[in-house]
């Protein structure tokens, strides 16, 4: 990494300097009325080479899956095969115009159709929509669908969504955005949903449950079928958060255990770019009970001809045109490269890798729920007095690792959530384990090394508290 701190473009600015020369104006000059003009617009004034160097140096400071191991729990930062990029860069895909008519866009619609069919098979669903642009966007679509179902069945009073306390924070946020209220369901001693608390919450105001399986503590919810039945018996529907699908592809179809609607994060499970803006796709799959409420348009095939159609009772659009189409091309490429057998091996390797690290790390880093994990596990970083998970995370940066997710899920104190994914070699995992054990040793013998970390970065430990309490969001000279 380039360790020299990079100044802001504003600090590189020199009055009167320009990076472009515009041609002579060949139309009459009309002055913008003074009332519409700002007295002073403080834009940086830079020449072309300075701009090129500034952004190139910034890009060299980037941390990415292409440069380093990135075990960010709950985020599935797997390697994105370059073949995906080759496919997405084909001129036919890249140049497709979003307003072209269906009959001249058969190839693109067929790809959407095939991707829909693939995810229907992987999830066991009756219908799938490519519309939503991210995981939480998919959640919102799913909650709208559940709401639309209850309204269509004359149950406007079903407004209560049950959400386990281990859920992603986006779940309650999606419900609130859809106008529903949320009720938190506590976890039991084993890290699963507390069935007694769930039973007590099941009444005729229940819209449904939003459940993540494996849960955010990386554990398979063994009562999933029981939970789905309780919700269905109470007249509710089951939303499955597909964020952790990387543990299940080819092994378990969510619809088979009672999930009525679920989103797939293509930017996690299906190897499309994640972080740095993605863009993402949160495709939504639905069981027969909810399929007609899916957002549209959906790719449909009739006698070998493809078209985009709106579902009759659908909740409408979530996104313009056909969603983030370039991402769909990448995900479809990936699914076809792996095939059915590869899908299963993906999940098996993801689970094996996580358990391998867990077994080696848990001798030093305590794990609150010690049973076998799925694709990720949650350790705790508070095993030495005066050392917090934050200190461990910052020290990891010095060794060239992206810190895992920390302080989430909230039900594990000092949480440190590791998800290696299936794309890492045993050598990478071993090197990571060695560093984690070394940091644990440093925590005991040289705690100041951790307190002051990171040391090997252009900027050291940031004062996150001051930044949050007194944010300065604009450049001031």
């Amino acid at each position: 990494m380039n360790l020299i701190p990079e100044p802001l473009a504003f600090e590189l600015s020199s009055p009167g300097r320009v990076g472009v020369s515009l041609p002579t104006c060949d139309v009459p000059v009309t002055a913008v009325p003074a009332s519409l003009r700002r007295a002073e617009l403080k834009l940086p004034e830079l020449d072309e080479l300075t701009v090129v160097r500034h952004f190139t140096r910034l890009s060299q400071k980037n941390f990415s899956i292409d440069t380093h191991f990135y075990p960010l729990g709950s985020c599935t930062m797997k390697y994105n095969p370059k073949a995906n990029e080759v496919a997405a860069a084909q001129p036919g895909w890249k140049g497709a115009h979003p307003l072209v008519s269906d009959d001249r866009n058969q190839g693109a619609i067929e790809l959407i159709y095939r991707l829909q069919e693939s995810l229907k098979a992987i999830g066991g669903f009756a219908g799938v929509s490519v519309q939503p642009a991210a995981g939480a966007h998919g959640e919102l679509a799913g909650v709208f669908m559940i709401r639309a179902y209850h309204l269509a069945h004359g149950n406007p009073g079903r407004v209560k969504m049950l959400i386990p306390d281990s859920a992603h924070g986006t779940n309650p946020a999606s419900c609130t955005m859809a106008g529903l209220t949320t009720v938190t369901i506590p976890s039991d001693a084993e890290g699963g949903v507390d069935l007694d608390a769930l039973k007590a919450a099941c009444d005729d105001t229940v819209a449904g449950i939003m459940i993540t399986n494996p849960s955010t503590i990386g554990l398979f919810e063994r009562n999933i079928e029981k939970i789905a039945k309780m919700i269905h018996d109470a007249g509710g529907l089951v939303y499955g958060d597909g964020a952790n699908m990387n543990a299940l592809t080819g092994v378990l179809r969510p619809a088979d255990v009672g999930i009525d609607v679920m989103h797939f994060n293509l930017h996690k499970t299906f190897s499309t770019p994640h972080g740095g803006g993605g863009p993402g796709v949160g495709m939504v799959g639905a069981a027969p009970v909810l399929a007609e409420y899916l957002p549209g348009p959906i790719a449909v095939e009739k006698n070998g001809k493809f078209s985009m159609e709106m579902p009759a009772k659908g909740i409408g659009r979530m996104k313009a045109f056909n969603g983030n189409f370039g991402v769909l091309v990448r995900a479809y490429t990936y699914i076809r490269m792996l095939g059915e057998e590869g899908m299963r091996r993906l999940a098996e390797s993801a689970v094996l890798n996580a358990n391998y690290i867990k077994v080696k790390m848990e001798k030093v880093y305590p794990v609150k729920y010690p049973r076998r994990c799925m694709h990720e596990f949650v350790a705790m970083g508070n095993f030495v007095d005066g050392i917090h998970t934050l200190d461990i995370a910052k020290r990891m940066i010095d060794y060239g690792y992206h810190p895992p997710t920390i302080y989430f899920p909230l039900i594990v104190p000092e949480a440190l959530m590791v998800e290696p994914t299936e794309t890492e070699s045993k050598e990478t995992l071993d090197a990571f384990i060695d560093v984690m054990l070394k940091i644990a040793e440093e925590a005991k013998t040289q705690p100041e090394l951790l307190h002051d970390a990171p040391h090997n970065t252009p900027i050291g430990r940031l004062d996150e508290v001051a930044a949050a309490r007194n944010p300065m969001l604009c450049y001031r000279s």
Binding site: G169, Y407, L410, P413, E464, R469
Partner: protein
């Protein structure tokens, strides 16, 4: 070891409630502020709002996490601690005094007896 206010009653979700004449004053426990770490933002309810026991009345956000805070008893909000808007760290420094969150009029005073005593809460918080 975190401190405890012997005159208050508690919920297992780490809120405290204390009688102040006819009204109840509430906040989060020393254990809760310690677990959250440096608090950077606090959202409090509108005065006059009526909330049921266990309903979320606000949000306490630290650099680690944003957590809902729940009504220890049912009641109508009489006042909120406006000082916290400019100085949320007060909850870290004085969770039982200057860092109080809300004062409310209890609509079901009998709920008081169902809250955890200081001894029971200490035992519960110690398990975490």
């Amino acid at each position: 070891m975190s401190s405890i206010d012997k005159n208050a009653r508690y919920r297992s979700s780490h809120e405290w409630a204390r009688k102040d004449g006819a009204r109840i004053v509430a906040g989060i426990s020393d254990h809760a502020q310690d677990a959250l770490g440096d608090i950077v933002f606090i959202e409090l309810p509108a005065v006059g709002k009526t909330l049921k026991q266990g309903e979320a009345f606000g949000v306490v956000e630290s650099v680690k996490a944003a957590s809902d805070v729940y009504m220890p008893m049912s009641g109508k909000i009489l006042s909120v601690n406006g000082t916290l808007t400019g100085d949320p760290a007060l909850v870290n420094k004085e969770p039982y005094t200057g860092g109080w969150l809300i004062a409310f009029e209890p609509t079901n005073p009998a709920e008081w007896d169902g809250l955890l005593t200081p001894v029971a809460y200490e035992a519960e918080a110690g398990k975490e």
